[in-house]
Symmetry: C2
Subunit: 353 residues, 2 copies
Amino acid sequence: MSKLKNDTFLRALLRQPTDYTPIWMMRQAGRYLPEYNETRARAGNFLNLCKSPDLATEVTLQPLARFPLDAAILFSDILTIPDAMGLGLYFSQGEGPKFERPLRDEWEIRDLAVPDPDVHLRYVMDAVRQIRKALNNEVPLIGFSGSPFTLACYMVEGGSSSDFALVKTMAYSRPELLHRILEINAQAVTIYLNAQIEAGAQAVMVFDSWGGALSHAAYREFSLSYMERIVAGLKREHNGEKVPVILFTKGGGLWLESIAATGCDAIGLDWTVDLGEARRRVGDKVALQGNLDPAVLLSNPEAVRREAEKVLASYGQGSGHVFNLGHGISQFTPPENAAALVEAVHELSRQYH
Amino acid sequence: MSKLKNDTFLRALLRQPTDYTPIWMMRQAGRYLPEYNETRARAGNFLNLCKSPDLATEVTLQPLARFPLDAAILFSDILTIPDAMGLGLYFSQGEGPKFERPLRDEWEIRDLAVPDPDVHLRYVMDAVRQIRKALNNEVPLIGFSGSPFTLACYMVEGGSSSDFALVKTMAYSRPELLHRILEINAQAVTIYLNAQIEAGAQAVMVFDSWGGALSHAAYREFSLSYMERIVAGLKREHNGEKVPVILFTKGGGLWLESIAATGCDAIGLDWTVDLGEARRRVGDKVALQGNLDPAVLLSNPEAVRREAEKVLASYGQGSGHVFNLGHGISQFTPPENAAALVEAVHELSRQYH
């Protein structure tokens, strides 16, 4: 393996010295880019785009051609695993992801099985390999999955939800059924992320989009404990290189100490958390990734620069910070604001290193 | 004024000793009750229900006839103030509150004026007086309003929003315009709540439903600082009785110390916060109100009792806790689960007093 030309992102995740603060943006390959919309139109729909390694490679690289980002992230969806389990993932206009066959009966839960990533998720591994080749060691590639609880939310609710009534009713009325789903999901995510690492992912991230909807106690029982098992089961080194793991629970700011105690390398933070306060709370246990409000990118380049500076100042001196948004970039972001952000972070962060 | 027969709620808010932990439920007069749906059908729609003092009195008392709750809350909406400002509140099926004339132009913001509660919000004051009479001093009556920022969200977005793109773009691009709206809203809320106190409200609560969508810094600037002004401007005593004020920012668990520092008497908590941990953080500055996940009420009476016990144990010994849900009760709650909750809290809390 040849050496990475820019390993700033990986070094920051491992809390090693860097010259500046690296940046990537959640959902950086997305609808705010005209070239993405063009490729997506060619694919016909979002799922075709995910399932074609050629097109996934194309869109993964698009933001890197525009902005000097410090990492690429596999273009895929957080719900590939339940799709591979046979639940039938689809996307309906304006309503987000849905499953054709959500889990409704007890026997369906008993019958759930861990999918073989090299068979049912082969298209993801092919995309990882192809993207790595195309990246030519310029910057590292991030692999990812949804968290066991977040997958379970969609598997039980059948789609997005404002109150998670079905999955929470299961948690309080039939916890053993939810634990069965989560157990299978945790095994599946572990195997899936390890396969992505084998295929070439140089860091991995677990997206716990909905853990923040749980009570503090239910979060530990139904989300965090399963992410902890995943962290313990991941290949943390591949081809002699460390593979850092990032856990991101949106709305998890109250629970940073517990997340840090899982053994992960870094915690993703949304914008509700004060980064400096978060750093004091977790000490030198983990790196921190975040946490600009994506709504800042709807304003103008001057405001973007001002708010980026606040995030950098809040983290303060030293390594261990990966700049990112606190959530995915909005489709209504003017690309010039994204450019202003990357430039501001690269330029203004040098004084902190 | 004759003395309240049950003042447990007010005593708990003032951190005075009580025999048990008082309980009321946010949105306790709501669609989970068949008798509420019957009255609402008679009214024609939700807004007619709010605007008729007779019908508002009727539904305010309905949950108290079923359950031995320790407080009544005025039946109204959090958005009465912008409606009185002329924005035209209406409710469209399944989409929540909307405004016919959201703030779109700068001159509309410059022209905003504080409504006179005794003229434009007379129906609310009439309802407060009528409910107090009907309550016959059995339990105290809570008055309320939306927070300045939460009102501004609806006034600018025109309705509910998942990302608050318009109001946040204003916050980052034209902060002076948002501050102008918030300044007027803060004056209006202060005058409105004082009028409710004059009319008979024995405690008041400010609902900051959307402050939790802000970054930590933006929360202080655009939400908390205006709630602080309201707290400073409220009549905290009426007819020789203290009138406690409760601030509730949904998703505000990270900011409890700052909320406690406003001078409010109590903080409302959603279910993501550990109540014991919250108590350690705020010390004896304020009482705490909350924080059962309303989804627990979708399960069964045994699970409800078990989870209620956990909340009580988490708060621990002593006064200063008002039991509540962490958010409004779901319309799909079986009334027998609500009954089980009230019974469990009254019975199980005695050991902590």
